[in-house]
Amino acid sequence: MSTMPLAITAAGPVGDAVDQLVSWLLTHGPALFSLIQGLVQGLASFFEALLAAPPAWMLALLVTVLGLWRVSAGFALFSLLGLNLVLFMGLWEPMIATLALVVTASLLALLIGLPIGVLAARQRTIWSLVRPVLDLMQTMPAFVYLIPAVMFFSTGQVPSVIATLIFSMPPVVRLTVLGIREVPADRLEAGLSFGCSPSQLLWKVQLPSALPTLMAGVNQTIMLSLSMVVIASMIGGGGLGDVVLRGIQQLNVGLGFEGGLAVVILAVILDRLTQSLATPPVKGLTERWRDWRRLWSD
């Protein structure tokens, strides 16, 4: 009876090729990688410093007011209580670190993904090139990105941001393409019949019409960033993922749960706030304030 190998340790032929590509890049592109390293690190540090600058209560209040204005009184209350809970669990600093990484990675993903989406929506050939890459990016297990990220950028915040942005870019590209493609034909005809040039058609007709779908893509990208940033704690991304990872390593259920809870609170706040940005507020701030007071009087 033949025995199965207990563990696969050597890569097959495809893996060898990828190994070679990676080592070629490592020997020929260090200048490029150190440039990217510097830029991403600078951006991440900037956001971390920015978010850590105001005291916790001020940031919590800001989120609450923003939630009251854009979402609902109930959401504002949830934000206030949730952020206080994070503070009470002593996880405020890790949460800020996670948030800074999410902001950095999402921003970069949007900066790269939106133009690609716009191009792919207008050029069928570009779309046919981009589409399989997106499929690959979405279906490849998230952990796989961590290995080359570590090889190119060592450990720390930079490889975490890079792995995260690759993982979180597909939705914004896809939904940008979808949004632009599904602009009703009569609106395009209206634009053209009034003499729009191709760029006027894009900026004045296609993008405004595609905005709701586009914002759904932005929201998806931010949410995926958050989930990946937590995983990226394994390569030294830090933040809340670190807390969860410590919980796993020490079999400390309580610690893991606290870290997870903080991630959930952050996720809900980010999700609702970014979703609300897609549409203009239904009610004014004064009306929301009345809702807020009604929460206590009823």
């Binding site: 609106r187 019949s193 003499g195 729009c196 040039s197 007709v205 405004p208």
Partner: protein
């Protein structure tokens, strides 16, 4: 020179439209081309010339190719073969930038589905064409405002399209076109999506606008009543070809073939025919200077009244034989262009045949109740 001239226009849709149109341009037989390349002709061999200042209605059922034809007038669809000449410029010879200039300055389009842009107020929507054309903000908003006032939306400048009813949205659509002050308006079933009452209102508005300032209007419609009401001329389309082109009266009274007759089968002739078309020569006309001679004559055997004209053939009154002169102001008259429907009541009220006069008062003929009935039986 006509403002828009279309000659030998074809549009083929199908699997290999490029090859098919090349073959057509090379002079191949259209029927063979359609079969060989698996194409369907949306527009076949259309020749039309549209004069400046007229409302030209292209009328046909859905699938007759009328919307495709309209879109070839501003180049949204390019023809498979044939020429479109707008104000002396052949569309297919224009470079993209020139075509854009033509669209910005010469022709504006109004859509069945309104096609307003979401997230813009009525005012910003109305200013869209001017914005695209690079008109400075303050100036374009001012022009958009006055266009909106012209279509009766002066009070809803800041509402968004989704806050407006269908009729109001189409007013914004119309204002968007009018703000450009184009010599040509292209209207693609512009009122078809509206309720009958609102549609009627919008038709009145369009006729009203035409009285203010005559533009060339190419109006697509599947509604025969609308076509008759608005059109100075109507081109009747079926299966991509024009069956007949002419005034509603020509189409009704002299249909080119059975299919045209079929279309007009249910049309109320009394609302299409006008009094000048069926008026007959007055049986007894006298010059003004001879009126006094009639006073002493015995009553005339025939109609009993004489129609009195001055030196320039203007109608100046009635003179019953043996009676006294009745000046024109006191006589029931019909002006040219009045429909038979509107003429019924005055004719029924009057004992003698009613005089039909032109806009400047010339006597064109007379119309008795008997002639009116005869005309309606025949139509």
């Amino acid at each position: 020179m006509p403002q828009i001239e279309i000659s030998g226009l074809w549009k083929l849709f199908g699997r290999q439209p490029k090859l098919a149109s090349d073959a057509l341009k090379a002079g191949a037989d259209p029927e063979q081309v359609q079969e060989r390349y698996g194409c369907r002709a949306a527009v076949r061999e259309v020749d039309l010339s549209i004069e400046a200042g007229e409302i030209f209605v292209v009328m046909g059922l859905s699938g007759s190719g009328k919307s495709t034809l309209l879109r070839m007038l501003n180049g949204l669809i390019s023809p498979s073969a044939g020429k479109v000449i707008v104000e002396g410029q052949q569309l297919s010879a224009l470079r993209p930038a020139q075509l854009r200039q033509l669209r910005r300055n010469t022709m504006a389009m109004v859509f069945q589905s309104f096609a307003l842009l979401p997230g813009r107020s009525a005012l910003e929507n109305a200013a869209f064409g001017l914005e695209v054309g690079g008109v400075p903000r303050a100036q374009r908003l001012e022009r958009a405002r006055s266009a909106l006032e012209r279509v009766g939306l002066g009070g809803d400048l800041n509402k968004r399209p989704e806050e407006l009813s269908g009729g109001m949205q189409q007013r914004v659509g119309l204002a968007r076109a009018l703000a450009l002050n184009p010599p040509i308006l292209l209207m693609d079933e512009a009122f078809s999506a509206l309720d009958p009452l609102i549609r009627r209102e919008m038709q009145d508005l369009l006729l009203d606008l035409q009285r203010d300032q005559r533009r060339t209007v190419v109006f697509i419609s599947h509604d025969l009543d609308e076509a008759i009401r608005l059109g100075d001329r109507i081109a009747l389309m079926q299966d991509g070809s024009v069956l007949q082109c002419g005034s509603s009266r020509e189409l009704l009274c002299h249909p080119a073939n059975e299919r045209v007759r079929h279309f007009f089968r249910d049309v109320d002739a009394s609302s299409v025919l006008s009094v000048d078309a069926i008026a007959v020569t007055a049986p007894w006309m006298v010059q003004q200077r001879d009126v006094d001679k009639l006073r002493d004559q015995p009553p005339h055997a025939g109609t009993g009244v004489a129609y009195v004209l001055d030196e320039t053939q203007r109608f100046c009154g009635l003179m019953p034989a043996g009676g006294s002169f009745i000046p024109a102001e006191k006589v029931e008259q019909l002006t040219a262009g009045t429909s038979l429907k509107e003429a019924m009541e005055p004719i029924a009220r009057t004992a003698h045949p009613v005089p039909v006069v032109s806009a400047d008062g010339q006597l064109l003929g007379v119309l008795s109740s008997r002639q009116l009935l005869q005309a309606m039986v025949m139509a």
